[in-house]
Amino acid sequence: MLLVLPAVAGSALLLIPLAALLTRTPWSRLSDLLGRADVQQALWLSLRCAGAATALSLLLGVPLAWVLARTRLPGRRLLRGLVTVPLVLPPVVGGVALLLAFGRRGVLGPLLVEAGAVPAFTPWGVVLAESFVALPFLVLTVEGALAALSLASEEVAGTLGARPGRVFLTVTLPTIAPSVAAGAVLAGARALGEFGATITFAGSLPGRTQTVPLLVYALLQDDPPAAYALSAVLLAVSVLLVLSLRPRLR
């Protein structure tokens, strides 16, 4: 009993807001709303940016996880600690940090200005901000899988004549594929919902950097029902992602 009451209260805390959102969603306006140009723009931008951030996380995160799990590089522990920092960092602080690194007046600003590629306040800035918060999810998931993987299969593959690169592609990667997929889904979900770092580093420029969460926030001022409906759409996407993860999280 001592444990059941807090458990019920905890469930209520999680479920009541979601239920409230669903009851207030103007379902009849949903199709009109989804047809609006600004909404479609935001949806499309969100999908592209989150997709790109997930791809970038995979491209950089899988090798990073491998280095953390399998090498004896000096500074490896420190690196692992640093990788987890964005997980707990307030996203807005991440946005400020990104601005100070890649902004026009940031540390790398002069270089980027000269190259004509300042990412701040562009769709690339959105991708960078989303990757900054999403990458740790992928790295930690994949690193865990690599650390738990016994070396024996990889060693056998080596004795059978496979070079290290081939071993990685034909044995390691297929074996940890479920974890890579789970990590990618987690990273993608985090990227799709990213707000604080994005608005700080890339702004909320309609059609350019205004992703769905930013649009929801903007709509909350002048068209609340539209914000509710769009929120319900994001909720639906989240539920779908959870369902896709379920077989792995067991």
Partner: protein
């Protein structure tokens, strides 16, 4: 193969001919697995490893041409049995199609031709062991390393896979090193026995030599068991051996028999063999007569070789040895109860 290697955990010099099966035995922690890993290139070592006339010690593991079956078979879980067996051929650049055909041929040879499409997760222990063996042998390795290939199997499967190993490894091109803890494996598979203790080779010789003159108490315990090869008949095992008077046949009675005509081993603990100065009476047992051979003391007991046909080793108390006057030599009768004899099909 000619190897002379030193690694942190093991130091060994050994020579093995093509097709020769070397049983690697020794107590836990003696360095058996380390020796295999060092030969495969999985453990840093210095020295030379000459396979098929070329020194591979400077080559990385993928270039050595080794067929390795580790203690846990570690099949590739995401690949079918067929693609597991064909992995080495693919890694060496064979087309997928040709590799699959060759892999199927190996699976058929090992009696699991119908399981090519199965994933490792759906296979039994014995089937997994066979796929691991097919995977190690398919690319015609220059050295085969088997690390306790039968340890994880139940008794019936063990006998079956051992038979398969015997027929598959016989007359191969590559020397075979097989780590084992089972004297039956040594008797059934090995042409020679390499005894490791504390990371060094204590003895390397034929099983008969090592059993007769063990250089350590540990190997005396392991190989002290009587083991006769022969053909099963209705009442036990018909043996054929080179005896003191040339090629002779003998018979060992066993309580539990095998189908007549099966090639088999008869095994019996020396302590279960009784010695007599007069021919003993009684029916349900084997009685062998012969001259007293070598005597060796093992703590409070004496191990006696009787030069009968076939030869038998008995272990008796010091008191019994004195009473029988074994030190004087002469003719003795060795008796073995049929219930003390275990037959293992080969």
């Amino acid at each position: 193969m000619r190897a002379s290697i030193t690694s942190a955990l093991v130091r060994a010099d050994l020579v093995a001919e093509p097709g020769q099966v070397v049983a690697v035995v020794g107590p836990n922690g003696a360095g058996k697995t380390s020796l295999l890993r060092a030969l495969a290139g999985l453990l840093p070592s210095t020295g030379t490893v000459e396979l098929a006339g070329r020194d591979v010690s400077a080559l990385p593991l993928h270039a050595r041409g080794i067929g390795w079956v580790p203690q846990s078979p570690s099949l590739f879980a995401h690949l079918s049995a067929r693609d597991n067996a064909g992995y080495a051929l693919r890694a060496r650049g064979m087309s997928r199609r040709a590799a699959r055909t060759a892999a199927d041929e190996w699976l058929r040879r090992l009696g699991i031709g119908h399981l090519g499409d199965s994933r490792p997760g759906a296979l039994s222990g014995g089937q997994v062991a066979r796929v691991a063996l097919a995977r190690a042998l398919a690319a015609d390795p220059a050295l085969v390393l088997l690390d306790e290939p039968l340890a994880a199997l139940d008794a019936a499967t063990k006998d079956e896979v051992r038979r398969l190993l015997r027929s598959t490894l016989a007359g191969g091109r590559a020397p075979v090193l097989v780590v084992t803890h089972d004297p039956v494996d040594v008797a059934a598979l090995a042409d020679s026995v390499l005894v490791l203790e504390d990371g060094a080779v204590v003895q390397h010789g034929s099983p008969a030599e090592v059993a007769a003159r063990p250089r350590s108490a540990w190997v005396a315990g392991l190989l002290g068991q009587n083991a006769w090869r022969g053909i099963a008949d209705e009442t036990g095992l018909r043996t054929a051996s080179m005896g003191s008077t040339g090629h002779v046949t003998g018979h060992i009675a066993a309580a539990e028999t095998l189908p007549a005509g099966t090639p088999a081993l008869a095994l019996c603990e020396p302590a279960a063999v009784t010695l007599h100065r007069q021919r003993p009476s009684g029916s349900a047992r084997t009685v062998l007569a012969g001259q007293v051979g070598e005597l060796r003391s093992l703590g409070g007991r004496v191990r006696v070789t009787v030069r009968s046909d076939p030869q038998v080793t008995a272990e008796v108390t010091v008191g019994a040895a004195t009473e029988l006057g074994l030190a004087d030599g002469g003719l003795v009768w060795a008796a073995i109860k049929a219930t003390e004899v275990r037959l293992v099909a080969l």
